[in-house]
């Protein structure tokens, strides 16, 4: 099993496509940090303009923590797409290229192969998140310094002391990892169904975009649908910045994300173990 995971990681590392995600994160984070560094003050003034008269703000509002939070908010749509680009192709890509035959005529079990691919995909997600974390958190702290984190929500304003923020970011990254693992298991499942390399990537992206759009509309009809969309639980990382944190909601959301991973992986295993390889 370890050999299989190692070879899967090796293949991911050697594919040029794997580096698109890293380049995209580098670019997006770099652009946001640069733009806020140059013109951040006016951006903050504009946001807090609406609170004039209600709230008096002093100190370093545009600090590393706020910039990191803004980056995370911005990347919430892009990250799953970058993940799907790799994980949606893990099995179907091998089928399309004919290399699935090479793998399955070796002494490896199909279940092991699915697990190895999921593990390698998760490792890729972890590296992406680590890069995002280092660039957005460490980079922003270096550029903008520390300070209290002020977050405007639809009905409330959360002010978190600088000394009380860092662990929340760690928690947010852990939840983001779980959320992206749901995406990777979902696209891996789709990848088992087809021998077409592009299909699972496109379908994953389409599902995430559609679910996110439905989730962002406050319509009574959609309120009934939202609990059944896994994307509804992928944004729970934001709740790490609530004061106080609703641990009940967090626990439920995390459990639902884990259930989704298990469900998608189980379907993948069930289907792939019975699949005839014609490619």
């Amino acid at each position: 099993m370890l050999t299989l995971i190692r070879t899967e990681l090796y293949k991911i590392a050697r594919r040029p496509r794997s580096y698109i995600g890293f380049a995209a994160i580098l670019l997006i984070v770099g652009i946001i940090e640069f733009a806020l560094y140059i013109d951040g003050a006016s951006y903050i003034d504009f946001i807090f303009q609406q609170l004039e008269g209600f709230l008096s703000i002093e100190g370093n509002v545009l600090n590393g923590y706020l910039v990191c939070f803004i980056i995370l908010q911005t990347l919430i749509i892009q990250m799953p797409l970058l993940v799907a680009l790799i994980t949606g192709d893990l099995i179907s890509g091998e089928a399309a290229n004919g290399t699935l035959r090479l793998l399955l005529t070796r002494p490896v079990s199909r279940s092991e192969l699915v697990f190895a691919k999921f593990t390698a995909g998760s490792f890729y997600v972890l590296i992406l998140l680590l890069l995002l974390g280092v660039l957005s958190l460490s980079g922003s702290l270096l550029l903008f310094g520390e300070g209290d984190l002020i977050i405007l929500k639809s009905e409330t304003i959360n002010v978190l002391k600088g000394s009380d923020v860092l662990w929340r970011f760690y928690g947010a990254f852990v939840i983001a990892f779980l959320s992206l693992s749901v995406v990777s298991s979902f696209s891996l499942m789709l990848s088992c169904f087809t021998d077409n390399s592009i299909g699972p990537i496109i379908i994953t992206m389409a599902v995430i975009v559609i679910f996110t759009i439905i989730g962002s509309f406050d319509l009574p009809l959609f309120d009934h649908i939202k609990p059944f969309l896994f994307t509804s639980y992928m944004i729970v990382w934001r709740n790490m910045f609530d004061q106080p944190i609703d641990w009940g909601l967090m626990g439920t959301s995390i459990a639902i994300l884990v259930i989704h991973i298990v469900l998608f992986l189980s379907i993948s295993l069930y289907y792939f173990n019975r699949k005839d390889i014609h490619s």
Binding site: T3, L4, R6, T7, Y10, K11, R14, R15, P16, N97, G98, T99, R101, L102, L103, L104, T105, R106, P107, V108, S109, R274, D276, I277, H278
Partner: protein, 302 residues
């Protein structure tokens, strides 16, 4: 039936309402080159894929090395090397990297000396460090042979291995297959090129519509058939008439303006030649038609 390296009992596979393999019974002896013949859609590839557990049978048992494939899949596959359909590789990796990766998956520690020897054997030593994406089809086919034998398997399954190879490539591959047999391995060879099977296979099966029409020793099966002789002359209608008058049982008939064919034992050929020459007919050539080809078409045309 004698026990073989592979024993297949009542194997069946249906795709929707098409019966691809129909209650197939097959015994493949050890240490031989075994030919798989049949027209397109005969069920050859489906059978080979089932032997490698790429496709699950609906019914039947496949025993390899005396063990049930279903129950000892990993153990059995560790002793089989194969090329199925066409050799596909990770195009973004070099030939050496592909072999390294596949060796690991076969449960062996890759050894650079062994990989070099293998590349040398298949004539790719100068291209081993190049990405497979830059290889020609023939080079991929050679690399396919290398990956199939990298773990020193007892059984090698080659499905249409000569596809896309030039004549010299086919010749080299034939020699490689014979070398594998000499090294004590069993080679299962599926091919559309009947002469290929006739030249190198010891045993064969001819399949059609998912069934084994015949199986056994190649020479025994072919020698049981009558020989077809083709004679090229300068006056075929006259030659046909003369042979028919002298040897009515040979069934002489014109097959082209310059050629006739008849069924004749070897001993009579010199007499026919002499007879035609004395009758004022020039004979340009006399040869046996491909025996296996005739046998194959005779069986599968029904």
């Amino acid at each position: 039936m004698d026990s073989g390296i592979i024993e297949i009992t009542q194997l069946s596979k249906t795709y929707k309402d098409i019966l691809a393999v129909d209650h197939l019974d097959l015994v493949i002896p050890a240490n031989c080159i075994y030919g798989f013949l049949g027209p397109n859609g005969a069920g050859k590839s489906t059978t080979l894929r089932m032997m490698l557990s790429l496709i699950s049978p609906d019914n039947g048992i496949i025993k390899v090395f005396g063990k049930d494939l279903n129950q000892h899949r990993k153990q059995i596959l560790s002793r089989i090397g194969s090329i199925i359909e066409k050799p596909d590789f990770y195009l973004y990796l070099t030939g050496i990297e592909n072999l390294n990766l596949l060796a690991r998956l076969s449960g062996i520690r890759p050894n650079s000396k062994k990989i070099e020897e293998l590349l040398d054997l298949v004539g790719l030593s100068s291209r081993g460090k190049h990405k497979v994406g830059t290889y020609s089809h023939g080079m991929k086919q050679r690399l396919g042979i290398a990956q199939a034998i990298i773990h020193d398997p007892r059984l090698v399954i080659l499905d249409e291995p000569t596809t896309g190879l030039d004549p010299s490539g086919i010749l080299e591959l034939r020699q490689m297959i014979l070398n594998l047999k000499q090294a004590g391995k069993t080679v299962i060879l599926s091919s559309h090129i009947l002469s290929e099977i006739e030249l190198i296979a010891d045993h064969m099966v001819i399949m059609n519509r998912g069934k084994a029409l015949v199986q056994g020793n190649v020479q025994t099966l072919i020698n049981d058939q009558e020989l077809v002789v083709v004679i090229e002359t300068n006056n075929t209608p006259l030659a046909v008439e003369k042979i028919r008058n002298n040897w009515p049982v040979l069934g002489a008939e014109a097959i082209s303006p310059t050629e006739l064919q008849c069924q004749a034992p070897k001993a009579l050929i010199a007499d026919i030649n002499k007879f035609l020459l004395e009758g004022g007919i020039d004979v340009y050539s006399i040869y046996y038609k491909r025996k296996l080809e005739d046998y194959f078409f005779k069986l599968t045309s029904n």
